[in-house]
């Protein structure tokens, strides 16, 4: 499965069973989050929440 990097515009390869919200690190150095909208698979830059992590 393929999607377009919203930062550099290049192609990003995704696993067939990609999850909504899955984090993908792209070669251009950006971390992307998978958005599944119906049959469309999109990517958006990952935004770190203020109360995230342990």
């Amino acid at each position: 499965m393929k999607a377009k990097c919203p930062v550099c515009g290049r192609e990003v390869l995704l696993p067939q069973d990609v999850l909504p919200g899955e984090v993908v690190d792209h070669d251009c150095g950006v971390s992307l989050e998978v958005v599944i909208d119906g049959s469309k698979v999109l990517l958006k830059p990952l935004e770190i929440g203020e109360d995230w992590g342990e």
């Binding site: 999850l19 909504p20 919200g21 984090v23 929440g49 203020e50 109360d51 995230w52 992590g53 342990e54």
Partner: protein, 279 residues
């Protein structure tokens, strides 16, 4: 066996847990919080859910909603609420005789300065809830502490007006992250750093750490103190007082631990979740 995996973003950890559950024959119900609302009291197909939301507030809210529908969530809302409030967690640890850094709570600049006179300087000042070491500050001088308190009081968030002040524990260039899964303490790492904040998310280097019986017992008791079934316990090594528990993490990051130890922690967690689902 059905189990649910609850998350907001799926990182290496969540993918590894999903694969480990599937490899053991589980049917995994994916619960992605950004796209899935909950009707309070609704039932999932799965009797047990593993909570992996990075957002503290989303983890607590979704766990409460799932529990209302009869789902056993690992970890429970009580464990999440307790562990994410640093003061509450320390109080529960202390009540069970677990050693923690000496801690004061102060509600004003005046009381923070009084706490500092008792604790001595340097000291650590931190918010009630935080993660990845954010807003945890070291005050070496009275003036620095006064400025930190003043800045925190102007932040707008009323929770920032509650100041947790702790003794600064001189660490041997590292602290310990110990993992608890059910009744077991399978693996630990040192988080090595020249900086006083040793979180791996802040540049601390993960190195495999041995687990002696005292460390195992301390970690297990700490997890039980907040009611956590799966947890990462942050432990300081104090020169005179031995192991001090600083935090209990109920949705712990573990990628670095797996990378440096080779230990199959996602597999261990998956085994535990599936055992719980059979109960």
């Amino acid at each position: 066996m059905n189990v649910a995996l609850v998350y907001d973003v799926a990182r290496w950890e969540e993918r590894a847990l999903l694969e480990a559950l599937k490899a053991r024959g589980a049917e995994v119900e994916i619960v992605h919080l950004e796209t899935r609302p909950f009707k309070l009291g609704e039932r999932l197909g799965a009797p047990v859910a593993l909570q992996r939301s990075l957002s503290h507030s989303a983890a607590l809210a979704s766990t409460i909603a799932l529990e209302a529908g009869g789902v056993a969530v690992i970890n429970s809302s009580r464990a999440i609420a307790t562990a994410h409030n640093k003061l509450w967690a320390l109080a529960e640890l202390l009540r069970r005789g677990i050693k923690v850094p000496e801690t004061f709570v102060a509600h004003s600049e005046r009381s923070a300065m009084a706490a500092a006179r008792s604790l001595g300087l340097p000291l650590v000042i931190k918010p009630l809830d935080g993660s990845w070491g954010r807003l945890v500050s070291l005050a070496k001088e009275e003036e620095t502490l006064r400025a930190l308190v003043e800045h925190r009081e102007l932040m707008g968030d009323p929770r920032m007006k509650v100041h947790i002040l702790q003794e600064f524990v001189e660490k041997p260039g590292r602290d310990i992250r110990v993992f608890v899964v059910g009744e077991e303490v399978p693996v630990a790492i040192y988080r090595v750093s020249e900086h006083w904040i040793t979180n791996t998310s802040r540049g601390g280097r993960a190195v495999p750490a041995p687990i002696d019986p005292e460390l195992a017992e301390t970690a297990l008791k700490a997890a039980q103190a907040v009611g956590a079934e799966i947890a990462g316990i942050d432990v300081f090594e104090h020169r005179e007082r031995g192991y001090l528990v600083n935090e209990v993490n109920v949705v712990p990051d573990f990628r670095n631990t797996v990378v440096v130890t080779g230990y199959d922690l996602p597999g261990k967690m998956a085994d535990y979740v599936l055992r719980r689902a059979k109960r």
